[in-house]
Amino acid sequence: MVEIVEPIATKPASRFRFLLDQRSVLGAVLVTPAILYVLLLVGVPFLLALYYSVSAYTIYDPSWRFVGLANFRQIIHNPAFLETLGNTFLFTFASQLLGLILGKFGALLLLRPFPGRKLVRAIIILPWAVPIALASVAWEWMFDSLYSVINWTMIALGIIDRSQAPNWLGNPHLAMLCVIVVNAWRFFPFAIVIFLAGITAVPQDIIDAATVDGAGFWRRNYQIIMPMILPIVAIGLIFGIVFTFTDLSVVYLLTNGGPIGATSVLGFQGFQVGIVSGDVSHGAAISLFMLPVLFVVVIAMLRFIRRREI
């Protein structure tokens, strides 16, 4: 026999007692701090920068006078700015490419079992984890015109003569190479992590199937694994490009934009003009040049990922 129990009479619950059980309420409560944070610390300064760029605001003359696109016109006609723009693209894409290549090879090496692999995996993260200010000091000494350990090694090995020792940070082309290498060095552990995550997520059955189907190492890697992990690599690349394009730390610490502006990038020049020199309106205008580029990159990447979704 089934017995039906009389419901125990309880006090009617308060209307607000289960308020947080409602998705719409709880969701709003949880997401509000993040939205406020973004609005206040990103949105407001961004709008401010937009206005600065069309004003004549400097720290010596803090007027809000509207000057239209005059700032932008002046900047575009400045050869130093055009060089900076070119440098920024070169710096960003070269260091990302180098970082990706290093990351891919690093990931392939770290996938193979060998004694001490866990230790190496931990150590390899260091360039990413070490503060760049600290790492830059080490790099600066390695590239030093007198005490460069790179030159010392090459001389000791007889590769170059002491008289031809390159002045790494003094030569415009070499200086660019240096900041690219240091930035790639900083980025490649991140690339390794991305590649490791991607490659280990490819089902073993698919790799085995490709092997039995006759694919060798290269074909497996570039026709099966790479296309399959492309979406995750693309996400990593978006992050890399966005961070590098706006970054000034390596340039600021290693070359200070020099020699003669050869390694100046947008973030660095915007900082120099807008903050150091106090010409806020021109600084804002320079920085805003990043916006369309970043916008295009992000849109292109996101569309690409959606198309390749598998």
Binding site: D205, V212, D213, A215, G216, P227
Partner: protein
């Protein structure tokens, strides 16, 4: 000639023998099923044949050639994986074409062969789709087409039906079997499902702990099991075993019937007193669980035809006279090996 021949193949992982000396001959065109519980080494053995693993010792011959150290691509075998291993970023057409591309087959030839394989499996209309747009059954056909497109010496199948639901599995079983008979490709099929093994195999190799226990036709495996493992692994419910001083007497549940059903008075039957504990009615059969007098510790099952045995004639808790025809009795010695009699 044997399409696949193995001689005393072993494989050890960190001193644990996964494959422990398998010698097996698979003649040309045969459908050979490797049947065993999970972890018995059957999949490892299959991976050794296709070259994904290197055996620790022993020889492997495919199409008469020793291929011990040949890479998978040079062996002329194709494999279909449990999860099919389709390339998600390729269309069905490119999936099927992939094994040909790796062999650098000319483009026109590839097109012709892909069309042939697609037509063979009836998937022409799916050629431009991607794997994620296919149903489980369609994926399986694509995987089969990809395996067959380069006309392999041997086709290896690793539990290909385990990802399908029960209904689809029955039809897929039928389809693979019919298909294999039509194409005539030597096939080695790994499964832990005895229904698949019995229903599809020309011959079955029963494997346990990395060793082949018995190779034979489904009827031989079922009726004349070589040892106690085979006797109890194949058949649902498994063969009943009565222990007598270390040796065993075995009989199939369907041969264990009420005495009056089989005893025509001329002898030739072994009689048992059977106490029924529980019975399950499964529609086409009734499974009865109980104990036999003198062997209290062992649960014995009988499979009765409901049409011939009324339910109230075998009430639980009562002792009933049951019997087995002498011809249906099987004897196993202390080591579990089959003996003729004792």
């Amino acid at each position: 000639m044997a399409a696949v021949l193995t001689r005393n193949i072993t494989k050890t992982f960190n001193d644990v023998a996964a494959v422990n000396g398998i010698t097996l001959t698979v003649p040309d065109g045969e459908f050979m099923v490797l049947l065993g519980p999970s972890g018995c080494g059957k999949t490892t053995f299959l991976r050794i044949i296709c070259g994904l693993e290197r055996q620790t010792s022993g020889d492997l011959l495919i199409d008469g050639n020793v291929v011990n150290d040949m890479p998978p691509r040079a062996r002329g075998v194709a494999m279909m994986f449990q999860s099919y291993g389709l390339y998600p970023h390729y269309t069905v057409r490119n999936n099927i074409a992939f094994p040909l591309r790796t062999q650098r087959v000319p483009r026109a030839e590839i097109e012709k062969k892909v069309a042939w394989a697609a037509q063979l499996l009836g998937i022409e209309r799916l050629l431009e789709r991607r794997p994620r747009q296919l149903s489980g059954g369609e994926r399986q056909r694509v995987a089969l087409a990809r395996a067959l497109v380069r006309e392999p010496t041997a086709l290896l199948l690793d539990e290909p039906l385990s990802n399908l639901d029960a209904k689809l599995r029955a039809s897929a079983r039928q389809e693979i079997k019919l298909f294999q008979q039509r194409v005539g490709t030597t096939t080695i099929y790994v499964t832990h499902d005895q229904v698949e093994a019995m229903g599809m195999g020309d011959r079955i190799a029963v494997i346990d702990h990395g060793k082949v226990r018995q190779v034979g036709t489904p009827a031989e495996i079922y009726d004349e099991p070589a040892d106690r493992f085979v006797a109890t692994f194949v058949g649902t419910p498994p063969m009943n075993l009565l222990s007598r001083g270390g040796a065993h007497l075995g009989f199939r549940p369907e041969n264990f019937l009420p005495k009056d059903m089989i005893d025509d008075g001329n002898g030739g039957v072994a009689e048992f007193s059977f106490r029924v504990d529980r019975s399950e009615y499964l529609g086409s059969e009734r499974i009865v669980y109980g104990v036999v007098e003198g062997f209290d510790a062992q649960v014995i099952t009988a499979k009765l035809p409901p049409a011939h045995v009324a339910e109230d004639s075998i009430r639980p808790g009562e002792w009933h006279p049951f019997a087995v025809r002498n011809g249906a009795l099987r004897y196993f010695d202390q080591d579990g090996k089959r003996t003729s009699r004792h």
